[in-house]
Amino acid sequence: MTNKKGKKEIGKIKGFSIQFLPYAEIRYLDSDRRIMKILEIVLGNNILILQGRLRPLEETRLIGDTMAMINHIKDFKGIELAVISGNGTSTILGKFKKGIVSMLSGGDLGAITIIGPASIVKEIKRNPRKIELLLNK
């Protein structure tokens, strides 16, 4: 896309920022506080990149809390969420090693979780080879 001055532009995107949250920030928080912290960041029009991932039950809790907020916060339509795990290992020994590392570190630190408000992040497309973050204009 080219503007009047002949300079290239990538299209108008509403203001947002990308915020990185190290796992250490949430390691000792209980599930309620973890989810609250994440939603606070996302509701502030930020795309959150979280080191590690939530526990499976926390992920569903996050979805449930998000749904509850849609009806109470103006213009909030929900979130886009994707977890990128490290190289998946299917051997028993590999899983065992991964389990031990996760247990010692307090979480799956090899993973990255991306969470953004649906008003900004249109879609997170993923397949085994790549991840695409599509933004709303």
Binding site: R55, P56, L57, E59, T60, R61, I63, G64, T66, M67, A68, I70, N71, K77, G78, I79, E80, L81, A82, V83, S90, A118, I124, K125, R126, N127, P128
Partner: protein, 213 residues
């Protein structure tokens, strides 16, 4: 007199056997428009003559958990009794404007969106009550969707047996291998709920999983 006593005794024994027979809670989970209700309807219609709910091309048609009790599924001479639980599709975002594309008026679209959010919450709450869960995925869609991964991760964490169904195999774009590649560790079968294709394999898998309950 002796015959009457024997008859009563016999009836009581049989009554108790059937009363104690466990009804397995079989949940249908998945993203919106994957065909959960279509599959549940197909099974209920085959074994009870009645459907469980309405289906539509508009996403989030099922916005309340709906169930049918005492569905006796017969397969290869065996009978098992299930409580079929059809749940609203789980999503991370719901925008009423999406429904406007299906010519739903604004007021109804907003109402539908509000009910759909409640439906997702209800679906999640019901997860704890399931004995077996069938995760219904649309075989024409990309399976690497976080909602799918989250649902399956939850079932594993709760130690609930899971069967993945790749639905809509009647469509040309359907790609079962892609779903198998995404979830290699789970039992998976492809079927068409619309046309009833491959239901035999589905029943076989459900009966097999029921043994784990």
């Amino acid at each position: 007199m002796a015959i009457k006593v024997f008859k009563n005794f016999f009836n009581r024994i049989f009554f108790n056997i059937f009363r104690n027979k466990k009804e397995i809670k079989l949940g249908f989970y998945g993203p919106p428009n994957a065909g959960k209700t279509s599959l549940a309807n197909r099974i209920c219609k085959d074994f009870t003559g009645e459907e469980i709910g309405s289906v539509s091309k508009i996403p989030h048609e099922t916005r309340n958990v709906q169930f049918k009790e005492k569905v006796e599924i017969k397969y290869k001479g065996k009978i098992m009794t299930f409580k079929m639980i059809d749940t609203p599709g789980i999503a991370t975002k719901i925008d009423y404007e999406e429904f406007l594309k299906y010519k739903v008026n604004k007021k109804d679209a907003k109402k539908r969106a509000k009910e759909a959010t409640q439906g997702v919450i209800e679906s999640i709450k019901w997860l704890d009550d399931m004995d077996i869960v069938v995760v219904v995925l649309d075989a024409t869609e990309n399976p690497y969707n976080q909602v799918n991964i989250t649902i399956i991760g939850n079932l594993v964490a709760r130690k609930i047996p899971v069967l993945i169904v790749a639905n809509k195999t009647d469509l040309r774009k359907a790609d079962i291998k892609r779903i198998e590649a995404a979830f290699p560790e789970y039992d998976l079968i492809g079927l068409s709920a619309k046309y009833g294709d491959n239901l035999e394999e589905f029943y076989e898998s459900i009966f097999k999983l029921s043994k784990k309950v």
